[in-house]
């Protein structure tokens, strides 16, 4: 029956979870009862309505603790992670020199109306991120950072012009699924032009997971805390494999 797990408060399998939400009701005994029933409907038992406060006319905010009644089988959880060895700056440069024997071309941008550049800059700029050099610093990589608010057309054009091996796309604004729309637009454009296979296409951003990226037709996805050498490792490993 695999490996059943539940949340842990202070005893294995106690199932304790903390929950907070606002209901569009006036505070009072009925509101608290509603919050309790609501939590029950979310499969949470032994509910404590720790706090209830009317934070606006007709809106009551709750802090709740309770015991979730469900378990999941951890063995059955499948999550993809960018699966590659991770190399450091020096190893990556040597690998390129030895196994690829030419410079690797990479182009990156934050697309759509997204004006956040700090993420893509962290990966591409010289300075890098968290003590890990950015791609521009790698002598064996030609890195072109187009910045933000770049249209998909501009990005593809630049990728073709530079003979890019990899296209790096960053998205930070996720409200109303803006990132999904933008990511999809790029893949559709590449497919329409029948050049999707020509590039490694890599997605990144604080709310991006590898799973999501693959679902959207990307080769890989990187989330919060990514350092440049992880991305370079992935690119180089893929190119060496080819």
């Amino acid at each position: 029956m695999g490996n059943l797990i539940k949340p842990y408060g202070d005893t294995i399998d106690d199932g304790i979870v903390q929950l907070s939400f606002t209901l569009p009701v006036t505070n009072g005994a009925k509101a608290k009862k509603a919050a309790e029933i609501y939590a029950n409907n979310l499969k949470i038992e032994d509910v404590t309505i720790a706090h209830a406060e009317e934070i606006a006319e007709g809106f009551t905010y709750f802090v709740i603790f309770g015991k979730a009644s469900v378990s999941i089988d951890y063995d059955s959880v499948k999550a993809s992670e960018v699966s590659t060895e991770f190399y450091d700056y020096y190893e990556i440069n040597s690998l390129i020199k030895e196994k690829i024997n030419r410079k690797v071309n990479v182009v990156g941008a934050s697309i759509g109306t997204d004006a956040h550049t700090v993420g893509i800059d962290a990966i591409m700029n010289m300075k890098g991120y968290d003590g890990d050099y950015g791609l521009e610093r790698y002598p064996e990589i030609n890195a072109t950072n187009l910045g933000s608010q770049v249209t998909c057309e501009e990005l593809v054009e630049s990728a073709l012009k530079n003979g890019s091996d990899a296209i790096l796309v960053s998205q930070t604004v996720t409200q109303k699924d803006a990132h999904i729309r933008n990511f999809t637009e790029l893949i559709e454009l590449l497919e329409a032009e029948k050049i999707r296979k020509q590039f490694l296409v890599i997605a990144g951003g604080p709310r991006i997971t590898n799973d999501l990226a693959i679902e959207l037709g990307y080769d890989a996805g990187f989330g919060a805390g990514t350092v440049p050498s992880q991305v370079a490792s992935y690119i180089v490993t893929c190119l060496v494999k080819e």
């Binding site: 907070s20 939400f21 606002t22 406060e53 934070i55 606006a56 006319e57 809106f59 905010y61 109306t113 997204d114 004006a115 550049t117 700090v118 800059d121 608010q149 604004v173 996720t174 409200q175 109303k176 803006a178 604080p206 919060a224």
Partner: protein, 521 residues
């Protein structure tokens, strides 16, 4: 309040550098030029509003017509005045007639120069009256419901839907907010027109439209009454429509506008000239209608390190102040910006934050400084975020800041939910109260870490401004002095909307505003 000892001579020196920098931009860039947006603003203040069937605003249509005829360099004022003489109707009707092609627009020889001028003067006087009445109206409201104690608690709403925003705003006020800012939809800065009407969809924010302003101001008037103190309304006069938005804001009795001398140039890639020209007019309007501006120094720290680049914040504050004064803003209208953005992992980071906040406080003693909360290093662990905001709140009340942007515990995740705002304000209310007079009860050690840090920033600022002044602001921006971003004179959006003023260019609103100077009361 605890004070750091600053060399007053040095303070004078940095202020003088800033003044020289601002004066040179005023003389070389602003005074000789106008822009499509300035001209559209004139139309708006003359009473033109509304859009055609496709949603293009009349002010845009009219200015574009003139541009097509290559007459824009003379200013839209005289042509529109002539059209009004021709139509014998009010501004709105006249605008419609022009756009429907029912009035020959651009031909003014039909009327005498004197008749046109006197119509212009009449229209301009009306326009100034509109601005005056905004000022007076707000001041009256503040007699009934006075302003609360500083730091003012500034809270954002950003649902995209003005009606949901209204619900959120009222909720925020009931939790203690003193100021409501409606965050704009992503990249409205880049639109070369002001959207029209009440809007219910936006991305990351709600469009700034005159109707949205009206809806929100009305809601806040009600909220003010309930609360007993006056709740101010903020929006953004940044981007390609700075002065137009300032006009709309004045008409709808807004209280504050985000309006920074270099934000659009650096962070939105809007052309330099366009920005400086638009901005001067926008600030003249703000001055007259008693709208406070909030500047955007915080933006320097979202892309670069808050300790290393603290001097860029101070330098920008000084430039904003100097330019603001050239546009007749008073100290009380200068919500100069800064931010609590030091990495929370830095040992004694809080002491540095205090030093920065205190330096700003002392350099601009009469300005209602706008203090931004931690954003860049905000944690996705919302429980930890609360702690960072507590320290920010403490720094703010201790150093006596003016406009306190309430930090939000979900900053690193999403635009705030109703409960996020509540939690934020609980935090602020508690800290402001429990440590209300801390700043009066402590002293900063002479030559201590705090004092030394402030001095270092001031030294770096002096050095930097000297260099900027040597080559001029336009050139300094081209060379990437600010935020490490290079913006060329001929680059960026909106340059095609800037034009040299012809010798018979007229814009009597601008002239009157400049001539009449600062007006209070």
């Amino acid at each position: 309040m605890a004070q750091i000892k600053l060399d007053q001579e040095q303070v004078k020196r940095v202020k003088n550098y800033a003044k020289d920098i601002a004066d040179s931009v005023q003389k070389n860039v602003i005074d000789g030029n106008s822009s499509v947006s300035v001209e559209r603003t004139v139309l708006r203040l003359y009473g033109v509003d509304g859009t055609d069937e496709e949603g293009t605003p009349y002010p845009n249509l009219i200015v574009d017509k003139l541009k097509e005829k290559d007459l824009l360099s003379k200013g839209v004022s005289k042509f529109f005045a002539a059209s009004m003489l021709a139509s014998k109707r009010d501004a709105m009707d006249t605008a419609e007639l022009i756009c429907q092609g029912n009035i020959l627009f651009g031909e003014i020889n039909e009327f005498s120069r004197a008749d046109i001028e006197s119509k212009e003067i009449e229209l301009s006087k009306e326009a100034l009256k509109t601005l005056d009445s905004s000022r007076i109206h707000k001041s009256k409201k503040q007699e009934k419901t006075p302003l609360p104690e500083q730091p003012f608690k500034y809270m954002i709403v950003a649902t995209g839907n003005i009606y949901e925003d209204r619900t959120q705003a009222k909720a925020a006020v009931s939790s203690g907010a003193d100021i409501i800012a409606v965050i704009r939809s992503t990249a409205q800065s880049l639109l070369d027109y002001v959207p029209y009407g009440a809007t219910t969809e936006g991305f990351g924010g709600t469009f700034a439209t005159q109707e949205n302003f009206k809806i929100m101001r009305k809601a806040l008037d009600e909220a003010s009454k309930k609360k007993g103190t006056y709740v101010r309304l903020v929006n953004y006069a940044s981007g390609l429509c700075m002065s137009e938005i300032a006009a709309c804001a004045a008409i709808e009795d807004l209280d504050m506008l985000l309006n920074d001398s270099m934000y659009g140039i650096l962070f939105r890639d809007i052309n330099k000239k366009r920005t400086f020209v638009d901005q001067h007019f926008s600030r003249l309007i703000c001055s007259r209608a008693k709208i406070l501006i909030n500047t955007g120094e915080d933006n320097y720290l979202t892309t670069s390190d808050a300790i290393e680049n603290a001097y860029t914040v101070t330098s920008s504050q000084l430039i904003n102040e100097a330019m603001g004064k050239n546009s007749l803003l008073t100290d009380e209208q200068l919500g100069l910006g800064h931010a609590f953005e030091i990495d929370p992992k830095v040992k004694n980071g809080f002491l540095f934050e205090l030093a920065h906040a205190q330096l700003a406080r002392q350099l601009f003693p009469d300005a209602p400084l706008k203090y931004m909360p931690p954003t860049k290093y905000k944690s996705c662990d919302i429980f930890f975020s609360q702690c960072m905001d507590s320290m920010f709140n403490l720094a703010s009340v201790t150093t006596g800041q003016g406009i306190h942007l309430c930090g939000i515990l979900t900053e690193a995740i999403h635009t705030p939910l109703m409960q996020d705002r509540f939690q934020s304000l609980s935090n602020v209310n508690y800290i402001f109260d429990t440590a209300r007079d801390l700043g009066d009860e402590i002293e900063f050690k002479e030559d201590g870490v705090i004092a030394k840090r402030a001095q270092t920033v001031l030294n770096e600022t002096e050095e930097f401004l000297k260099k900027v002044n040597d080559i001029g602001l336009m050139e300094a921006i081209s060379e990437g002095y600010f935020a490490g971003i290079k913006r060329l004179d001929t680059g960026g959006k909106g340059l095609d909307g800037v034009f040299l003023k012809d010798s018979d260019y007229s814009n009597p609103i601008l002239e009157m505003l400049e001539k009449e100077g600062t007006i209070n009361g």
